[in-house]
């Protein structure tokens, strides 16, 4: 790296960390939020970044390292910008996740680390992302979940991210999902405000939803 990175938090970041510190009776408890802020800033958690978190929270480096190294969402190596956590856990895997993962490997020409040839993407097999009903799913860069994934939808997502466009948040909900008011409100989004408040008790009958 030609450009040297300065390992310091800005005043705003320090204030943000203090806000988290105030939530807990022990300042060390803010280590996870502080690590999130550090990872957001530096892209990954280098020893220097973890050292910064340790000194900011006045706690041992070893404890910061112990926490950071435990969780899959904290990156301990320098990684490409966009991570695809493709769920291949049992439901998603059974419902097409395994094929999506193979498709991703081939279409992005990833190396043995799962990094794409152009250095912009990184794929790995994810464990359950708690969206089994809309499987297969993947998560982009620790943030957005893409539901009901197909190879075509994957390619489309890659195209968007090549232009640094993050796909929109999907409020979830397959078409018939009984528990999703959004799915039902969707056809007439404009009228939602005008309709009189519905009776709190609505008889639900899944057989009518077809």
């Amino acid at each position: 790296m030609a450009e040297s990175v300065v390992f310091e938090f800005t005043e705003a970041e320090k204030a943000e960390i203090q806000k988290h510190v105030a939530k807990y009776p022990d300042r060390k408890s803010a280590v996870m939020p502080a690590l999130w802020i550090a990872q957001e800033k530096f892209g990954w958690l280098s020893p220097e970044a973890m050292e910064l978190v340790a000194s900011t929270l006045d706690m041992p480096y070893a404890q910061v390292y112990g926490v950071a190294s435990f969780y899959t969402m904290y990156f301990k190596k320098k990684v490409p910008k966009y991570l695809f956590d493709i769920c291949t856990c049992f439901t998603c895997g059974e419902c097409g996740g395994d094929q999506i993962f193979k498709h991703a490997q081939n279409s992005l020409q990833v190396d043995e680390n799962g990094h794409s040839a152009d250095g912009k993407f990184w794929i790995r097999q994810a464990e359950c992302l708690a969206a089994c009903d809309t499987g297969p799913v993947m998560q982009i860069a620790n943030r957005r979940i893409v539901h009901n994934l197909t190879p075509a939808k994957f390619d489309q997502t890659v195209d968007m991210l090549r232009r640094d466009q993050m796909p929109a948040f999907e409020p979830v909900a397959p078409k018939y999902d009984q528990a999703s008011p959004a799915a039902k409100a969707a056809p007439e989004p404009e009228k939602v405000q005008e309709t009189p408040p519905p009776a709190p008790e609505v008889i639900s009958d899944s057989s009518e939803e077809e």
Binding site: M32, T72, A179
Partner: protein, 430 residues
């Protein structure tokens, strides 16, 4: 449970924009909190007793009476803080219900958590959400901010003199943090190794202070109990395991999703009516009734009339878990399925206890042999022996959660494993 088709949803009713506090309040929201705090009809003990009488069996998997758990809290000592931890880690494969509450009815949960904190005289509540919920964490935080803005949280709530803060804590992607003592370690900023019990959280919990941990859905039921009474609540569903439940349906069915119905639903109704039947009209092979850790159910058991409650599932040696049903069709390769479950637990084992740290890895190694048609007859016994060495021999239940589904797969689908044994001769004489 014949009248489930007329069931009225109460946890996530069909009301648009219910996640907005105005809409929630217009529909009777926060009235229960108001009654508890300001009507003078309630005190902490009577709230606890009411919840105990309702018999809300924890929706996070263990199925323990929530009110009874609350009653384990020691008497309040002035100056000694105590905490509520709300478990929204939701990482069990096949489980995706709490996210719906965060998304569609967060205030019901906030109201329930606040009532719980009043009942147990807590100083603060921490909501632990898995890191992968990044988008939903932001949305839930908005709901919390709205509640503060309306005076439903913070100092002197509704003029009652009761103070409460709710803090959202973002996880980092570790299944183990859904285990209650691991969750506490994680919140405290330590490497989240589960703690040995006793001491139990009620005695020595978060930061060594009295603590209770409840699942999100469990707490969301509390306002309903206060509103309509324990008698009403416990009259819903199966008598010994009552109440409304968010069922998660996934796998090879036509309409996967989250469905709210009473406990005690026939699994056949869940699959063929609620779930719209098997995908491509395939035959049913197996069901994982409540997340990956539950022993599997065979099609015969399911068609025998099993219902979704602890008593019915106990008759076949399984449990309700988180009520996330993963439905598998006749084409499912149970060997590969078991292997994938083992891989999950191998990845998620925290590494603290030897039987789990080593055992989950051995499951993966041995099951991979079967996946690659390299199994040996002796491996079948080895796998069962491995189950024996893991179950009940570790600090937390992750080892059990690995062994149960794999043992059940070996028992119910043994022929599929035998078919992957390298020498047919050894299998024929086995």
């Amino acid at each position: 449970m014949e009248n489930w088709r007329n069931y009225t949803k109460v946890l996530i009713p069909d009301i648009p924009n219910l996640n907005q506090i105005d809409v929630y309040q217009k529909n009777g929201g926060y009235e229960q909190l108001k009654e508890v705090l300001t009507s003078g009809k309630w005190n902490p003990k009577s709230v606890t007793d009411e919840v105990k009488a309702a018999n809300i069996r924890g929706r996070g998997g263990a199925g323990f009476n929530a009110g009874l758990k609350w009653s384990f809290m020691p008497p309040k000592v002035e100056g000694l803080p105590r905490y509520l931890a709300c478990n929204g880690d939701e990482s069990e494969p096949g489980t995706f219900k709490d996210r719906r509450i965060f998304m569609f009815n967060p205030h019901l949960f906030i109201e329930g958590a606040t009532i719980a904190c009043y009942a147990m005289q807590m100083d603060a509540a921490y909501v632990y959400m898995r890191g992968e919920f990044a988008d939903w964490i932001d949305k839930f935080q908005e709901a919390v901010d709205q509640a503060y803005a309306k005076g439903m949280l913070g100092k002197n709530i509704m003029g009652s003199g009761f103070d409460l803060d709710i803090f959202v804590h973002k996880g980092g992607g570790a299944y183990i943090c859904g285990e209650e003592t691991s969750l506490m370690e994680s919140l405290e900023g330590k490497r989240p190794y589960p703690r040995s019990k006793p001491p139990f959280p009620a005695q020595f919990g978060l930061w060594g202070k009295p603590t209770t941990i409840n699942n999100i859905e469990t707490l969301a039921n509390v306002p309903l109990v206060i509103k309509n009474g324990a008698k009403w609540w416990s009259s819903i569903g199966a008598p010994a395991h009552p109440g409304p439940v968010l069922y998660g349906l996934s796998g090879h069915i036509n309409r996967p999703g989250v469905y709210e119905y009473p406990t005690g639903m026939k699994i056949t109704d869940m699959i063929y009516e609620v779930g719209g039947g098997m995908r491509n009209n395939k035959k049913l092979k197996a069901v994982s009734p409540g997340g990956s850790s539950c022993p599997l159910l065979t099609a015969e058991m399911v068609h025998g009339g099993l219902t979704m409650d602890a008593d019915s599932l106990r008759t076949v040696g399984s449990v309700m878990g988180t009520s996330g049903l993963c439905v598998l069709d006749e084409d499912t390769d149970m060997v590969k399925f078991s292997y994938r479950i083992a891989k999950f637990y191998d990845h998620e084992s925290c590494g603290q206890c030897t039987p789990c740290r080593e055992g989950t890895g051995w499951f993966v190694k041995i099951l991979r042999k079967f996946v690659e048609n390299r199994g040996e007859t002796k491996d079948l016994d080895l796998l069962l022996e491995l189950c024996d060495t893991m179950e009940g021999r570790t600090v937390c239940a992750l080892a059990d959660a690995t062994a149960w589904p794999i043992r059940s797969a070996l028992i119910h689908f043994r022929s599929e494993f035998e078919a992957r044994i390298v020498s047919k001769a050894s299998f024929a004489t086995a």
